[in-house]
């Protein structure tokens, strides 16, 4: 998952990569601006394309910085509310592009460099790259080759930055570490931006990254929830009308896509991992509580294709969870297919006779559409 720029830069700083003097500005008191202007004001959202969405501005004086912060804090960019802005001194120097990215097909690290930094890199004419084994020395040697045409005055600084970025990527098990623009001058390199993609699967052995996530529970709500709960729940639309209780990432995503295409408004994506319930309704209760908090929800759709899970047992847990969540006052449609489906029907008919159980997903979706209408 993508870190916000300020957190990427915190990792850069710790790795010895210089970043501009900066301060974070939230909804509280106006920030104390670092040094002299001009300054950049940048919305801190874990998504790309914020410039086009109005999330990047330049301010020549304190008043224009305050105005830019106030404007950006009201934005919602790619589904993320802007909670915080980064205000930095404008850095100076020639602009370059440097990135390390995992190449999954080659089981390697791809080193990318361009003398055209500061632009959308997909539009840049010349991006040179090298494939390396995931080793600091190999990556550093590749950077050395890629910057061979750079002026003598700052070439060594570029190589040193590449080496630090390599160490950062391997030590912290990053999937992407990108600096665009990287400001270079005879005084050295300064990272103008930071795009860092972390591996949540490695979080147990990356305490520094875990601390960054926990320090911004609102910005990283989905990831923090995954760390705390052990499953994936992503809120897609706080005004959504259909709460989803689903398992399996792919089927859940497809369900969200198909519902949206038909004009339904799913609240959430969920991969509850039925195989991990271990006889407890706790996880289901958590999910139903989150769904119940959202006032626009009109119906809950449960969709479980059980390969291994025993649906009879699952139905019992679902009934327990619904009984334990009085705040949930909307109808529930359950589509259950696979192992133990007959038993599940019996359990629900006895304990939760209001729940409609379907075998076919299409039939369940038709019921959900009627409930929303």
């Amino acid at each position: 998952m993508l870190l916000v720029e300020a957190d990427g830069k915190a990792l850069f700083r710790a790795a010895g990569i210089a970043v501009p003097a900066g301060v974070e500005a939230g909804r509280g008191a106006a920030p104390v601006l670092p040094g002299d202007g001009p300054w950049m004001v940048k919305a801190q959202v874990p998504a790309g394309g914020r410039g086009k969405a109005g999330g990047v501005a330049r301010g020549a004086d304190a008043a224009s910085v305050r105005a830019a912060v106030a404007h950006q804090l009201g934005l919602r960019i790619k589904g993320h509310d802007v909670e915080c802005c980064l205000v930095e001194q404008v850095a100076r120097g020639a602009e370059r592009y440097l990135a390390l990215v995992l190449d999954p097909a080659e089981y390697a690290v791809r080193v990318l460099f361009s003398a055209e930094g500061g632009v959308d890199i997909e539009q840049a004419a010349a991006v040179a790259s090298r494939l390396c084994p995931p080793e600091v020395d190999a990556i550093t040697a590749a950077v050395d080759e890629l910057v061979a045409g750079e002026p003598e005055g700052w070439r060594a600084a570029l190589v040193a930055t590449g080496q630090r970025l390599a160490r950062l990527m391997l030590d912290h098990e990053l999937m992407l570490a990108e600096i665009n623009p990287l400001f270079v001058s005879v005084a050295g390199c300064v990272a103008g931006d930071a795009k860092v993609v972390i591996d949540l699967n490695a979080i147990d052995r990356q305490p520094a990254i875990a601390a960054l996530l926990r320090a911004r529970p609102a910005t990283y709500a989905d990831a923090v929830r995954k760390l705390d709960e052990g499953f994936d729940y992503v809120e897609l639309d706080p005004d959504g009308e259909v709460g989803l209780v689903t398992t399996g990432a792919g089927l859940s995503m497809m369900l969200v896509d198909e519902m949206t295409a038909r004009g339904m408004k799913p609240l959430n994506f969920l991969d509850i991992r039925t195989g991990q319930l271990r006889g407890s309704p706790a996880r289901l209760i958590r999910v139903l509580e989150w769904i119940a908090e959202r006032k626009r929800v009109k119906v809950v759709l449960v969709n479980i294709f059980a390969g291994i899970t025993d649906l009879g047992e699952f139905a019992g847990l679902l009934a327990d969870a619904i009984a334990a969540t009085p705040a949930l006052r909307v109808p529930v449609v359950a589509r259950l297919v696979g192992r133990g489906a007959e038993q599940a029907r019996r359990v629900l008919a006895e304990r939760m006779p209001d729940i409609v159980v379907e075998e076919e997903l299409e039939a369940a979706l038709a019921r959900v559409a009627r409930a929303c209408a």
Partner: protein
């Protein structure tokens, strides 16, 4: 090696004495898989349902001649398990654990490639030759012998589609879950040649999802060889939230990269029939069937 799997392929289950290992070994045997050995890192060496259990892969392979393995171990142990299996001479390793760190997968991928072996994983429901055997836990309810070869990132989405196809009378020749991780063993493009060469296979169904560029690479490989068999696809995640991994670590989009739109365009340009819904894909497979 995937296309040559059969009910006689000797299979080793790593971690057979654990809860998962026992459960899935029983499920696989019931389906027809020839399980000849298990290993237990904890040293539980008693037989499991009549299957001899060994300390390590080398001993298991030496005693039984196992050529394929499935590792029923936690995510943090996957790296060591695959390296051990490959070092013991296993030619095909399947791993099923969710949550394997990406840099571990990178190291496994390098080692497996260097050994010339095949790895399906890190996190997949496994693979099957329906009617013969399965490695992993693809649900029996969705498995049915037939002419369609399935490749899928997602387990559950492939269950749904495989089940619907089977309900409509179209079973499967081969079914491989490649998993939803960004760094993995077998990728979609790797399966093109064996699926095209497989005599049982008349058509291919690709179940993709947002993130990465596997679908694009498959499209490039297909464009190169030409679509000798029809290919049908769905790609989940057009509504995925940018910058957030949607359940699968690999299901992550940034800007225009890895989006459903880019995948769909690449696949369609290579002659793949891409559908927005599961129902449309299943219906079209039925309609096209006469021409296979």
């Amino acid at each position: 090696m995937i296309a040559t799997l059969s009910r006689s392929t000797p299979v080793l289950v790593q971690g057979i004495s654990g809860r998962m290992g026992r459960t899935h070994a029983a499920g696989m045997r019931a389906y027809g898989t020839n399980i000849v050995a298990g290993t237990s890192a904890r040293g539980d060496l008693g037989d499991v349902d009549g299957v001899p259990v060994f300390h390590d892969c080398a001993a298991a392979v030496a005693a039984t001649g196992a050529t394929a393995s499935i590792a029923m171990v936690p995510p943090g142990d996957v790296r060591a398990a695959v390296l051990e299996a490959v070092a013991a001479g296993i030619r095909l390793v399947v791993t099923i654990a969710e949550g394997v760190p990406v840099h571990d997968a990178l190291a496994v991928g390098r080692a497996v490639r260097a050994a010339g072996a095949t790895w399906v994983g890190p996190s997949t429901p496994g693979l099957a030759v329906p009617g013969e055997m399965k490695l992993g836990f693809l649900p029996d309810a969705a498995l049915r012998p037939g002419p369609v070869a399935i490749m899928s990132k997602s387990g559950t989405l492939s269950y749904e589609i495989g089940w619907r196809l089977a309900q409509s009378g179209l079973g499967q020749s081969l079914w491989v879950g490649v998993g939803g991780d960004p760094v993995k063993g077998v990728r979609f493009a790797d399966l093109l040649a064996p699926f095209l060469a497989d005599a049982r296979t008349a058509a291919i169904v690709l179940v993709g999802e947002v993130g990465g560029d596997e679908e694009e690479q498959f499209a490039a490989a297909l464009a190169q060889v030409g679509a000798a068999k029809p290919v049908f696809a769905v790609i989940a995640g057009s509504e995925a939230k940018e910058g957030v991994a949607m359940g699968h670590a690999g299901a992550l989009t940034f800007g225009a990269t890895g989006t459903v739109r880019s995948k769909r365009a690449a696949l369609e340009a290579a002659g793949v029939r891409v559908f927005a819904t599961m129902a449309a894909l299943v219906a079209d497979c039925g309609d096209q069937r006469r021409r296979w």
